[in-house]
């Protein structure tokens, strides 16, 4: 295939038979970021949506009649969880596995979630739909096959790619870049050097959003004597107030104490707990830097991309820079502009750049 053939070739599209003959009115590209906490999509029709990675099925006929649906997604599923068999199909960035019904339920939920995400892209029936899904860097082959199978039901052709790679590709940072993608289940670190990252270029840590929720929960238990709260309440507080450097307004939260809402001042607790993810991240960055060509190590340290929902912690970019300077001698961290859609936007760009015959071969 010549270089020129890498670009558009409408003729061969028209030649593709079967149902494609009815799909001549456009090509919709969809980039999907399948995350533990949220699943986001970005499509070439301008649609961008994000949905909590939660799927619920009514517990019984009464619940189904009351809810009027066979399956609920995202925040709606979380709100009505008492009437539902609720699944959060991704854990630590990969599909939950296990034995028996639970495993089957998670797989079914993952498939339904992916179908819902693609449905949100509002594809026209007469358009070809090509999707690239940013899968967790450490996802197993079994997981990847399950994701592919789920997506195939809704799109004409689908490909998977590493999530942190998608983030970097979306910003055209292809060489000598370190990507930190902080999700809910995992923090993925990926070293980009102009070719596809290999296993040695990627590190996955469990120091991510869920870890912070648990740590904050413990810290609040110590700091807020007598208070009654749940991990979901802690998560909401984290998403609203999390910060690690600089000054913050006083953070006051209200927890019930013996049934009465009581204010607690938790500014320092939030800051000190959120800072806990910094040392392991910088340590992992250090090991990726140390195993890189010494000539380019300084350049690598100066090109660190911070992405994922966890990057919304205020001051995190600066705090990682400070830690890098102290532990690695230098460092420059750039937070991507749209942490929620960074992965999906990158996947969309990969979909756009993928040559037509590659798509055709995977149909």
């Amino acid at each position: 295939m010549t270089d020129e053939q890498m670009s558009a070739n409408p003729e061969s599209q028209a030649q593709s038979g079967g149902s494609d003959s009815e799909k001549k009115h456009g090509v919709l590209y969809i980039g999907v970021d399948l995350g533990t906490s949220r699943t986001s999509i970005s499509a070439s029709n301008g649609v961008r949506e994000t949905v909590a990675s939660a799927v619920g099925y009514p517990k019984d006929v009464v619940a189904m009649k009351l809810l009027g649906k066979e399956v609920l997604f995202g925040d709606e599923a979380l709100q009505k969880r008492l009437s539902l068999n609720l699944y959060k199909p991704l854990e630590h960035g990969v599909l939950k596995s296990g034995d028996g019904e639970d495993s089957e339920g998670n797989l079914r939920a993952a498939k339904d979630l992916l179908k819902e995400a693609i449905r949100l892209a509002k594809a026209r029936k007469d358009e070809l739909v090509y999707a690239v899904i940013g899968a967790p860097a450490q996802a197993s082959i079994h997981n990847k096959k399950a994701i592919i199978e789920a997506a195939r039901e809704s799109v004409d052709s689908v490909m998977l790619c590493s999530e942190p790679f998608a983030v970097a590709y979306g910003l055209d940072w292809l060489e000598d870049v370190l990507v930190i993608d902080i999700g809910a289940g995992t923090t993925d670190l990926c070293r980009m050097h102009g070719t596809m990252p290999e296993d040695a270029d990627q590190i996955t840590l469990n120091y991510a959003g869920d870890y912070l929720d648990r740590e904050l929960f413990k810290a609040f238990q110590e700091a807020c004597t007598g208070a009654d709260f749940t991990i979901n309440m802690v998560k909401e507080i984290k998403e609203k107030y999390a910060y690690v450097s600089g000054s913050s307004e006083t953070i006051t939260v209200h927890f019930p104490v013996a049934g009465k809402p009581t204010p607690f001042e938790v500014t320092e607790v939030v800051k000190n707990t959120c800072k806990k993810i910094i040392p392991p991240i910088v340590e992992a960055l250090g090991s990726l830097v140390a195993s890189f060509d010494p000539e380019f190590q300084e350049r690598l340290k100066g090109r660190v991309l911070l992405a994922g929902g966890g990057s919304l912690i205020r001051g995190l970019d600066r705090a990682i820079e400070d830690e890098m300077r102290e532990k690695l001698g230098s460092g420059r961290v750039v937070r991507i502009e749209e942490p929620i859609y960074g992965g999906a936007n990158g996947a969309l760009k990969i979909a756009h750049d993928m040559p037509e015959d590659f798509w055709e071969k995977l149909k």
């Binding site: 590209y29 070439s44 029709n45 292809l174 060489e175 596809m196 993928m354 040559p355 071969k361």
Partner: protein, 269 residues
């Protein structure tokens, strides 16, 4: 950030508008106005800008692109969106009109259906009634004519009663045969007419069902969601003018090969 932009667009649109009151409008002779919410206008502008920038970014940022060109593209996108919204409104209006028309059609069809059913039943009953009356009258007239005839020849033979009986049996037998023939002919004509009416009845029932279905759809406000069109009409692919074409080409090939291996395995599993 997005909320901030939305607010700024709303402020800008507000600046371009002028404030007035209903009374002031009435003084100018304006009694009816078309109202467009500021949210809708700002949403259209935002979408237009977003789509244009997205298309530009997806194609790679072109430093030679002037502000004027971006503005023109955004304007064109805005007008396209506006037309889409207008066409959506038009569709909604047409649906409303169709709903009213369908309601009246359903009424008319139901009336027609009832009339047809009544007509068929009446025809059947009339035929049976007329047949019965006509037969009885003919029989009576025939018996009377035979009796009169035999009364005239009664004095000669004395076997008048016997002959009368035989004659009547013969006449009535022939008459009955003739009647059967005529009845069969008439029944065939009637069957044709009833068949025609039945076919019409079937067609009207079908139309009624379809119309009622469309009416139900219109009443529940269901308009098929056609989705949102992609900005691309054909498959794109990596542009050979991309400054990092070779590197990206190699990356795309690597992703494809990994997926080919994964999916071939998946399909054979």
């Amino acid at each position: 950030m997005a909320r901030g932009i939305k607010k700024k667009i709303q402020q800008a649109v507000r600046k371009l508008s002028y404030r007035t009151t209903v009374d002031q409008l009435k003084k100018k002779g304006i009694n009816r106005v078309n109202v467009v919410g500021i949210d809708r206008i700002s949403a259209l502008i935002e979408t237009a800008v977003h789509r244009t920038l997205k298309a530009r970014m997806a194609l790679g940022f072109d430093p030679d692109l002037t502000h004027g060109e971006i503005a023109n593209e955004t304007r064109a996108e805005f007008l396209r969106l506006l037309r889409n919204k207008e066409s959506l409104k038009k569709v909604q209006k047409e649906t409303e009109e169709e709903k009213e028309s369908l309601k009246s059609q359903v009424g008319k069809l139901q009336e027609e259906l009832q009339t047809l059913q009544r007509e068929i039943e009446e025809k059947r009953q009339r035929f049976v009634r007329e047949e019965r009356v006509r037969t009885a009258a003919e029989d009576e007239a025939l018996v009377q004519a035979v009796q009169e005839l035999l009364g005239k020849i009664d004095s000669g033979t004395g076997k008048a009663a016997e002959i009368q009986e035989e004659l009547l049996a013969l006449f009535l037998g022939r008459l009955e045969e003739e009647r059967k023939r005529v009845r069969a002919q008439k029944e065939q004509e009637l069957r044709k007419e009833v068949d025609l009416l039945n076919r019409r009845l079937h067609k009207v029932t079908q139309t009624l069902d379809q119309t009622e279905g469309r009416l139900q759809q219109a009443l529940s406000g269901q308009v098929e969601d056609l989705g949102v069109s992609s900005i691309y009409k054909e498959v794109q692919g990596l542009s050979s003018s991309d400054p990092e074409f070779k590197k990206k080409k190699s990356l795309m090939t690597s992703i494809f090969e990994a997926n080919l291996e994964l999916q071939k395995g998946s399909s054979s599993a």
